[in-house]
Every structure is written in structure tokens, then in C-alpha cells.
Symmetry: C2
Subunit: 343 residues, 2 copies
Amino acid sequence: MSAVEATVTRVGAAELRAAVHAALTAAGAVPDEAAVQAEQLVEGDLRGHPSHGVRRLPVLVTRLRAGLIVSGAGVGCEWRTPGLAVVDGRRGFGPVVARHAAGLAVERAATQGVAVAAVRGSGHVGMLAPYLETMVDGDCVALVLTISEALVHPWGGARAMVGTNPVGIGVPTGGDPLILDMSTGAVSMGRILDHAAREEAIPLGWAIDAAGAPTTDATAAAGGAISPFGGPKGYALGVALETLVAALTGSALGAAVTGTLDTEHPSTKGDVFVAFSVDAMGLAPRLAGIAGYLDDVRASGDGAPVTVPGDRARATRERHLRDGVPVDAAVWRQVRELAEETE
Amino acid sequence: MSAVEATVTRVGAAELRAAVHAALTAAGAVPDEAAVQAEQLVEGDLRGHPSHGVRRLPVLVTRLRAGLIVSGAGVGCEWRTPGLAVVDGRRGFGPVVARHAAGLAVERAATQGVAVAAVRGSGHVGMLAPYLETMVDGDCVALVLTISEALVHPWGGARAMVGTNPVGIGVPTGGDPLILDMSTGAVSMGRILDHAAREEAIPLGWAIDAAGAPTTDATAAAGGAISPFGGPKGYALGVALETLVAALTGSALGAAVTGTLDTEHPSTKGDVFVAFSVDAMGLAPRLAGIAGYLDDVRASGDGAPVTVPGDRARATRERHLRDGVPVDAAVWRQVRELAEETE
């Protein structure tokens, strides 16, 4: 066992949720909202994405105590047109607002065919996959977008100007849904910071340094910018999503996006939830064909493993539910300390 | 001037459109539909994407004469719900049906906030950019998706199972719109065939051969499959778009997608047009902020060129309108021959 692996401990998902819940309520969160936020953080670790997991708890607690996150204020909603809701998160927990928005879009799509919930004033939503799954369970094709602080450089650019802007697509099938939840950055800043902490080099192509030059030095990368995935095309997608979200939510853009990683600024990002009703299309009977196609895709490696978006996270989640959730020991210690505090 | 460059001739855009129009009407197309299809083919060459340009004319003419494309049959439209139209292309020209569908979505979005036109039974639509521009001119944020014959291999897969499935996003700004029109393949099959014709090697990463191995041999690649752009992430996006389009249009999937490159089968692909009204969101006053952000992005190279999606095609189009459209001499000869035929 390496020194790095030795710092990881296994925690049961229920125990982890309970500790996060206790920490959030100790910091002033309303219990049912704390439960939603705790579940969403634990989902990050369960699915193998600790960068969206309980390691974000300390920032949430600090933001909550500073009034940058407000619990119990409810969610504002105005249907501007039959298919388009403007959602005011009222500085609430990202997952609380996001679940509400996803539910609004799904419910309205049943009669409208398609509906959008455009969210402002909400905290970091975490992984998109759980919302996509909920929307797919509501018999919808789902598109979920959010933006982040500027961490990615434009292709040819020398500094971070674009968020890691993930694209979330959920498609119902006869079987397991297709769930795409993918950042447009080459890598997460969390992974770069992990390498920096271990003084390990990063592969060329992950990031540039503060002077705009490609680097393998993780510390220099942490002070520079993440590269987009897939070169110019990934950059083009990321910047297109940044402007699409801004045009539909009135969010900030680029370096003006704040409030998801920091502990000083209100959230200025936006989130977009689009639900397309499969029933309204009359296409539910055809969904089994999509499952069959995806099985053919999985078999297309002639023995080599081929996965469909959602497969890997689903398998990881099952394994972690069974064997315990791997959590960095220092993070787990911090979570328990926060859980033992009183308001 | 190299041997390759010497085979390219310059043709005025109007002359090119007129010749394509004549060829299409000679093959039985209704004049106004021939004009729409001719304009869309010429737009491909104008914007520097000859793979979507007039070189596709011979296939269109053959399909038209074979009854696989039907001109003058109109476009069927059924609003299943207030926001969702099912469009039957009736085997019509892709651009004729696509323009109609884009117009339906924009018009309906004005009252609904968001509207979808889901298209089946339509020919190849060509570049997505012109439709995106039209939708943006209608004060909408636009999302346009289409799928193609299976040409791209899944990540880890040994054969083509996924279309080159482009993603089209249009965002209005105070100035030039952002127009993303981007295939999820690493490269077009047209470019691979060009290399094969010139017996030139292709870069590693563009394609695999028929046995599933990465290759630099263009001829082997033409008999194999294109790689997705950006590795596993580009594949994930491409396959997600394939299933999203299928779920919303009832289109075929993977190897069952036919009728855009071949001259034997009806079109079984689908197209999706989604319009989000900026006016309905009340966000038109904020669009100037998007233009300002994009100017900052363009300046982020500290002297090195940085483009925003749409910039390059716009500049190329202006240059080709001024200097003439570069067309392969053999293609231009063929266009003129087809134009001189009578039905």
C-alpha cells in the first residue's frame, strides 16, 4: 500500500451522510435541506468523483456561517411563459434549488412537451448525474448545464477565462439510462491539486502555467489554468456552454463567476435544466431500441472494455455502497470535527 | 503551387449557386427548393467546409432521380404539445425541411419560451451554422443536433458505431453571435479520403483500421473508422447525442442510420431544433455583456490569435465572397456537366 492509499479510509454511505448532515445543521442549515445537500455530496464520493464529494463540506460550512449560503429561504419561481421558468435560488444550497428546478421542468414538460428552468442565485450543484437520473425517471430526456469559476484557458489563450462547464445529458432507455456528466476541462483542479500535494508531475496537456506555457509542474499548473479537453473543440464547446447559460440565466461570465469554490463571494453562476417529454413525443415504445444499440456499443471492443456514459459511475457507486466509500482520512477527520460542533 | 492546389479553381458564389440550382432542377427539383438546397451547399464551401459543400451534389442528384429525395411534397408538421412539433420531412431536401423546422421552433418559442421541432424523413442538412444564425436572428438561443451514418468508433471499440454527430449552439450577443457547429469526430471522412487520394499519411489519432488498430494509413482508415475528438470524452458526447436525437425523433441508431452519404437507402436519421426565446427570459439587455466577454476571450492570447466559435467561418466566408469560392476543379466540372443535363 502506498503512502497515498494509506491516507484513504472507508466509510459507510449512511454514516458519511449522517456526519455531513450533522455538520450542516450545526452550521445553521434546516434539517431537510441539510439532508439533500449531504446526500448530494456523498453521491460525489459514491460515484468516484471526490472533487464533488464531502471534501467540499468545509467551504459549504464557511459559506453558510458567512451568510453566503442561506438555508430555509425557499426557492422563488416565476413562469415567464408556459415553458420557461426563472428560478431564484435565494442563496440556497445548490442541490436543494437544483432538485426543485429539475422537478419543475419535468412536471411542466408533461403538458408542454419541453420545459426549461433557468436558475440564478444558487450554490454549487455538485455532480449533474443525480438530477439527470431523476429527470429520466420522470420519462424525460434531460439536458442540464451549469458553469463554474473561470479555470480553463481558451485554446491559444494564456489564462483562465472559461469555467469547467460540464454538459449533462440523460436519455431514458428500456434499461439503464445513458447519463453523460462530463466537464469540458481536460481534468479537474482537484486532481491537479492532488498531484501538487504529492509533488507529482502532471501529464502534458492538462494545464498551462501562469505565463501561458504548457506545463508538467502541478504547482505551476495550480497557479495557471486547466486546458480544455480535446483541444480547440473542447474549448469551443466549453465557451459555447458558458455563453448559453449566461444568455438563459443572466449569470456572470468568465472571471466574474464567483461563489462556488471561494468563501467570500455570493454565487453569480447559473444553471439550466431542460426536460423533453418522451411521452409527449409518443416515442416511449422505441426506447428499448436505444438499450439494444447501447449493448451493441458495449460489445464493440471485441473483448476490450467499452463503456456507455453512466456505466462507470454506476458500477463504482455499487462497489462503494458495498465496500464503503473511500474518503481521504484528513477530510473524514474534518467532517467529524464539523459534525461535533454546535451552532 | 503544389499539384494539389493546382486542382482548385475559384468560382463566384452566385455562379456556383446558379450551376447547382440548374443541376437540381434538371434532376426534377422544384425551383424554390432547388434554390434553398443550392444555397446551403454553397454555404459549406463559402465557410471553408467543402465536405459539406457542392461536392455532395452528385449524390443528391442520384438520390433525387432514384426517388430517395422527393422535391415539392411539402413538410408535415404536428404540434404534439404546445412546445413540441413532430416534423415529417416527406423525403424532402434536408435544408428545405431544416429551414422550415427552425422557423417553427423560433416562432413558437416567442410564446412558449422554448420550443422543439423534431424532424424525421429529411435529407442531409449540411452545415448547422446557417440554421443557427437564422434562429439567433429570431432572438433565440439555438440548439441544433443531427446524426449521421456510423463513421466513428466508440472509445475502445473496434468499428464504427456512432455518427459524426455534430453539436450546434447559437447564442445571440450585442455583436456577432457565437455559432458552434462542430462534429464530434476527430476529422471528417472527407479529409481522410482526400489524404487517401493523395497517398498522404494521416496523423495518429484520426482513425483506426478495419482491425481496430490506430493507423496513419489513410486508405486503411477509410476502410476503418474515424476516432472521436478528445478521446473518451468526445466519444461520450457523440454517443449521448446519438441517443438523444433517437429518443426525440425516433430515428435509427448506429449502423442502421442510412441515407445521407449513400445513393441506395432512404434517410433514417433525425434532426432536432430547439429554440429558447431570449425575450421571454427578459434578458435581451444583458446580451451586450456576452459580446464584451467574448472580446476578452479573443484578447486572452496576449497577441496570439484566439477565436470564438463562428469567427473563423465568418472570416473565411467573407474572404471567399470577395476572392471567389475555392472548388476542386473536378467537382466544378461535374457540377457544370450536371447543370447542362436536361431532365
